[in-house]
Subunit: 197 residues, 2 copies
DNA sequence: TTGGTTTCTTATCATACATCAATGCACAGT
DNA sequence: ACTGTGCATTGATGTATGATAAGAAACCAA
């Protein structure tokens, strides 16, 4: 078992001792995925929540016109999953793919069940995770409703400066809801503005 | 106490008997709000989840340019709240306002606490609500990333045919992320198409 | 009924962004 | 060192949607 980051994440958020956590983590498989490999494809049923120990994962959908839309990036210490598919046991609309060679912990429902049985504080913790997720989605909706291409990009840069450098611009564009060409122009314009100052 | 719809909603989703539910509901205030009255304003701390017994409520934000963005519509049997503000005890970024004379049940954190203490199945139920919320937000993000004005409108019509007729088009436009004028054009175009068929 | 809001439509014009197409890099594999 | 493939950039052009303004219609209150 080799998931030090997840262990740290849990122990620092839950009232739980090392023995307990180790025994629970033992049941989780750690998976190494090569760049470009898929953890989930459209129409599959997502059975896991993935915790990223190392590397970088992307979740995206493909619309009827064949265009990709990035739902989220997940670097180290982040979770990625199709919660809807897991929870409602539906076919997923998303792809989950590694952008770099990565290590992920595959967490199944059993794991959560065990945690909630053995750790009283887990329910609250899980609640917090869900609320954080909601907050995040809500923020994104607000952005998509109100911000221009440039504002979206600036917000992204401020929020995920690290991811920016590890991901092709095409994918950032598809996260922001604009074309790669537009993103390129936005960047050019920003560079010009900054130079003039 | 006069909240028959909430009572029905809870009894049909939770393993709970009438006496219990009544004693818990007693602690909830039912509020009558006139059309245009506010349940929450920007910068206030949202302390309640509102369950709509009758009428229609809207949640929206106002951006730096003064433009309104509708977050959600809540007709009878829906909840509306700023979860982030309640949960993280932050100032809200939203307004919650009645679009019609309405009756809402004001649910505070105590209520949820009581439920989770007394009703074992509540935790799961709450989880389900949160997941539904997430599913809903996710769907909206997908729409905003990929759909044209016309597609958005059609989706809205299909999803909320009832709300469509009770709400001014301006607000529907602000939900879809387009201007009222654009919405008018879209509708005209759709009418033309349907006529030709 | 009247007059006054508010909402919806329509028209014109402006613009941000998309699309299409060509070029230039940079990097990986041979 | 070559060559191919994937990205980023750039320019030319197109289009959907936004902005503004004005009139028509719907709604409401006195």
């Amino acid at each position: 078992m080799n998931s030090p980051k997840l262990k740290l994440f849990l122990t620092s958020n839950l009232d739980i001792d090392d023995d307990e956590i180790l025994s629970i983590l033992k049941s989780c498989q750690v998976k190494s995925v090569k760049k470009d490999a898929f953890l989930l494809r459209e129409n599959e049923h997502c059975k896991h929540t993935f915790f990223v120990e190392s590397g970088l994962i992307r979740q995206y959908s493909i619309d009827d016109k064949g265009k990709e839309h990035t739902i989220s990036f997940a670097p180290e210490n982040w979770f990625v999953s199709d919660r809807e598919s897991v929870y409602f046991d539906e076919a997923s609309a998303y792809y989950i793919q590694a952008l770099e060679d990565s290590e992920v912990v595959m967490i199944d429902e059993d794991f959560f069940l065990k945690l909630s049985e053995e750790i009283p504080s887990f329910t609250d913790f899980n609640n917090k995770l869900l609320h954080n997720h909601i907050r995040h989605l809500q923020k994104r909706i607000n952005m998509l409703l109100s911000a221009s291409a440039e504002q979206r990009y600036l917000e992204f840069v401020a929020m995920y400066p690290d991811i920016l450098l590890r991901v092709p611009q095409t994918m950032i564009a598809s996260y922001l809801g604009i074309t790669p060409e537009s993103l390129s122009r936005v960047r050019k314009e920003l560079a010009r503005k900054n130079f003039k100052k």
